[in-house]
Amino acid sequence: MDVVNQLQRQFLDYSASLHREGFLDDQFTQLQKLQDENSPDFVVEVASLFFEDCEKLINNMARALEQQQGVDFKQVDASVHQLKGSSSSIGAMRVKNVCIAFRSFCEAQNREGCLRCLQQVTQEYSLLKNKLQTLFRLEQQILAAGGSVPTIE
């Protein structure tokens, strides 16, 4: 039981830090609350979809910004808008915030600003991916040790 308690505390501490550091917001907690016996892997599934979507959109943005003969800022903006939506839906606050800034640069047709945001969004996505994988690993360890994943409030 000691092992389970330790792991559970680790999980809660880690969750708390992710929220404190702005990686996740309340929307992520809402998604965790939706997970139950009927959809036991819901959060992991949504996260996977999000990361796939992120990669696709980041590639689209990179390609559009590379165009030497003239950047189609509308196209870049469309991808950023989609990413902003997805990150908001999953509670990926830092990614979402970069998207907000990114959209302003698209509107201003500022290529340099856009490229900086692209770099930032790539970084935030990588960070979040690692952190969520750590979080999910902790969940698996708790379950493997015979415990239950504590609910966050």
Partner: protein, 194 residues
């Protein structure tokens, strides 16, 4: 909570984002609704049994869910979609034989003029994304209202073709339906009282 003998409500959710489709599907299933998700307005119209040309005939009578194989009780759609927007879809539904179908719009952007335009076009509700369970619990009264309206319409149509004697017998049996409806409505009111 599904009452015995009451068929489940079926919601058609329209969103081009795969993540949002997954989330809305889970949210709606948590509320015990049957859910179908599609990724475009065009697919939504197809699922509803509407074709582009159906929507331009305002003289089409509106028998409930005549064209569909599967009955849909409510459409919830994202606003911003490539091709046909949620607003376009709303308009097409309201101009079709399914004009009584409750339609709800979701949007990640809080644009007052957009909200007004949708509500004026006949949208029952406008939710800001990310959508919460508490938003979706507003759907049941909308679907119930339409179902009861449809049931009453059917009763009236039936009665119009029956002899006075038979009508008397039918009316004796009716009260139980109405009571059921009232009980459900009252059960749903708590939120409004706040």
């Amino acid at each position: 909570m599904v009452m015995a003998g009451e068929s489940q409500f079926h919601v058609l959710a329209v969103d081009d984002s795969i993540i949002d489709r997954k989330i809305i599907q889970t949210l709606l299933k948590t509320l015990s609704y049957q859910v179908t998700t599609v990724d475009s307005g065009a697919k939504a119209l197809e699922f509803l049994g509407l074709h582009q040309d159906d929507t331009t005939n305002p003289n089409t009578p509106s028998p409930p869910n005549n064209h569909q194989e599967v009955e849909v009780n409510l459409v919830i759609t994202d606003y911003c979609m490539p091709g046909m927007t949620g607003y376009d879809l709303l308009k097409k539904i309201k101009e079709s034989s399914l004009r009584n179908m409750p339609v709800v719009i979701m949007s990640s952007e809080n644009v007052p003029s957009r909200i007004t335009r949708c509500l004026e076009e006949g949208a029952e509700e406008f939710f800001l994304k990310p959508v919460r369970l508490s938003d979706l619990s507003k759907l049941r009264p909308l679907m119930l209202k339409t179902k009861l309206k449809d049931q009453n319409q059917k009763q009236e149509e039936k009665a119009a073709f029956q002899s006075p004697k038979l009508q008397q017998v039918e009316q004796k049996q009716q009260p139980s339906n109405d009571d059921k409806g009232k009980a459900i409505d009252e059960g749903l009111s708590p939120e409004k009282k706040n």
